[in-house]
Point group: C3
Chain length 342, copies 3
């Protein structure tokens, strides 16, 4: 896709100062601008780069006054950063919406139902009794099992696996190679010292505006549903165990794991590589520092850290002393010596 | 699949109390029962739900006496929980066994050998000199390389990659996008400060009744075999390094990693996000708490925790004091002051 | 592939002592030798196995003198271990280079450009405006998006996903199901308490001789590039956030995660399950112990450990006291008692 300066100016309600036919096809930072790229100058600290940038077009503030020569075509706007964000969004939107069509190389069950505007890529698989909402994009090499329901405008990226009975809301994005609805890890020890499988017959239910990262796994419930609330954002390589429930607008960073049947509240912020034990209740608006290990219930609005985790401030107070533990213990030992000598 | 109350009663040796033609097609908890679902009442605490449940059929104890009206059809059995588990297993078994057939869209090497009853899905790939046992299910989009051997009744889920020379036993389940037999991480530093690859020419050998979770990776051996014993259960997103050996009936939770050449005994229970260094020996029946980091050999029957890990009880004793370290150090400082003033 | 003793001797500049027609098709440790395998005796400790090994051919030192009968054919060389490594490399090289050809079942965009000697497997996908260098191997079921550039001799294993705009150097290896170039995890909280997506329009750039492990994820930059330097080796299940930069010849073990915008120097050695926060600078030649959590910048040549991490030796000194904290606190309490009684 190419845009010229006039088109850019129209999109962001700006004015062209330079060549109106200057064309760009990509975005760049101003210090990394190349021919054909669109850049922006928002922070005055970066002004020197404007005079040297090779970016073809640069968004600048309406009141920008040049003090030297420059080569880039300017598009003047009220707020260059906001204008740039707007263009980013526009660019991304166009980029990710292929023309609706169903590849001849895809398998779509006769018993599946696809709404208007759906795009299905090569070698994708759509199982029986599955319903796909309007304008969904099912990229190549995706697998969607039987009896799956997907809302409108959802994008499933290459290689994602959506297993039988999963429900996905509208406006969701499932990144590459994510696995949603595989069997939970349920094993009952038997008398012979081996394990019998506890059948996993539930499903996974995602709300609307949910984003799932690459290679993340969300297990189906043993019975009932593993539930991911509206607006939840999960990063890459996360593990969500069976029957977990995550409240709306909670955000979780990469490589965190949540064990079976734990309930997490709304608007939590959970760092990367956090581990949360099974059958716990985590409140609303809880902040969990990266790499913490949670072994007990956590109240609303707590901020915690550590392995096992406790109050964030208290943890850091203890840790300062841990770092100097050798000095403290030496002190203790000399006190002991002194006291025993007295 | 639908079952009516008479069929259910037959399967669990029960008696129908209600509509013998009532039909169910799914399973639910009693408090989440919906039309067409089968539920059960085992725990008396849940009895109030029986009077309100919308489940079409509910398994209850032979001696259950209703104290109010209810709408669900009862199937009376000796042990409702056991009966429900039996039905779950029955349901799951039926659900996962497709009619044997080889998709025309699959690639099966002329030099591969498939036994009776094998099912191979669309776009699956079976390499040369590979042997697949009776009644195996190779789901769509699976890749099985060359010279692989798979026992009877094994299920390989969509997107799993079984690389050359892997041996998989009977009655195994490999979940979605698991990778078995990729190259181990072996690098020899050279004089120029870069690394030369140590060729990884061994393989992976899984015993019988082994379950491997979604997106889990098991590396082939440098030389010889990475070995996973009979009945081992691995959860999702686990990393097993080259030449690791895991004894029979050991269970490992999600996101745990085991570095190269470590040997783990039988009947161990290893929590999630555990890390075990390379070239260690972990005994039999060892319990490792989630998130522990293991840096040395561990004896049979140990229970350990921490980073680095040591005895479970000792760790927790130390950690109680860590939580209050600020108080202890304040005490220490005031003692010091007092003593120096005396 | 089969090799006889004469061919082996030629490859390693050795001499045959036994049957020159003895044939091998695989490699083994001497203690695990089987019919048809090639083994080696480098460490004198293993000499007893030479007399019992079932390996068909064994590499031994020129000056080896047998003291008992044996069945294996010897190939005498100056340095058996070096010779074996040489054969391993030779074997691996042959093994992984298929005859160049493009599968009829692959999708290759008309606007893509493939150089000589490229091999593309079944159901692989090569998007528009993508360029693939000489002798690359694109295995089956791989996805390569649009506008991707790949250098010469690079191997992309089954199931890997290379998303739009990625640049991969020469002589790289991308293992199975790795995801390179998926969207970074960028979310801006809005007034309604939910999150807006920050568009991720940058790309990922890998240098030459880079190896990426199975199921590892490397996110594209928000703007600009996520950069992985020449000779970097990443193990399995690693997470690299958006805009991260990793210097040349740094090696990172499995399940480590690096948050957005962090810069890591050259020649670092980073253990498994390490977590590094965003926006940090890690120097050159830094050693980070497995499972450490890094919350601040780290200087060149540091060796660190802990959660949060600090100097390796200091951490271990503190940890020795942590293990005995109960004893120390008991001492402290008895001192306190004694002092208060005086």
């Amino acid at each position: 896709m190419k845009f010229n300066a006039t088109q850019i100016a129209e999109l962001v309600s700006g004015t062209v100062d330079g060549d109106p036919k200057a064309e760009v096809s990509k975005l760049s930072k101003i210090e990394e601008g190349t021919k054909g790229s669109l850049s922006f100058l928002a922070n005055p600290k970066y002004t020197p780069f404007l005079y040297s940038t090779a970016a073809t077009i640069t968004l600048v503030s309406d009141d920008f006054v040049a003090e030297k020569d420059y080569k880039t075509t300017l598009v003047r706007v009220a707020d260059p950063y906001e204008a740039f964000s707007k263009l980013l969004n526009h660019y991304n939107k166009i980029k990710h919406v292929p023309t609706p069509s169903v590849s001849e190389k895809a398998f779509v069950s006769e018993d599946a139902s696809c709404s208007d505007g759906v795009s299905i890529g090569d070698n994708a698989h759509i199982g029986a009794h599955t319903t796909i909402g309007k304008n969904c994009v099912i990229q190549p090499q995706v697998f969607i099992g039987e009896n799956v329901t997907i809302g409108d405008n959802t994008i499933i990226h290459v290689g994602a696996r959506i297993i039988d009975d999963t429900v996905i809301g509208s406006d969701c994005v499932i990144q590459n190679n994510a696995v949603i609805g595989a069997d939970g890890f349920g094993w009952a020890p038997n008398e012979s010292g081996s394990y019998d499988k506890v059948p996993q017959t539930g499903n996974v239910v995602l709300g609307n505006h949910v984003d799932i990262g690459a290679n993340t796994t969300i297990d189906r419930a043993t019975l009932g549903s593993t539930r991911i609330g509206d607006g939840v954002k999960l990063d890459n390589l996360i593990q969500i165990g069976h029957n977990v429930e995550i409240g709306a607008h909670t955000v979780i960073a990469a490589q965190t794991g949540i064990a079976g049947s734990t309930k997490i509240g709304t608007h939590c912020q959970i760092g990367g590589q956090v581990g949360i034990s099974g059958h716990l209740t985590i409140g609303n608006r809880v902040g969990i520092q990266a790499k913490s290990g949670i072994l007990k219930n956590i109240k609303d609005d707590s901020k915690i850290m550590g392995y096992p985790a406790f109050d964030y401030t208290a943890f850091n107070k203890s840790y300062v002393h841990f770092r100097n533990l050798h000095t403290h213990i030496t002190d203790l030992q000399s006190l002991k010596k002194k006291l025993n000598h007295d």
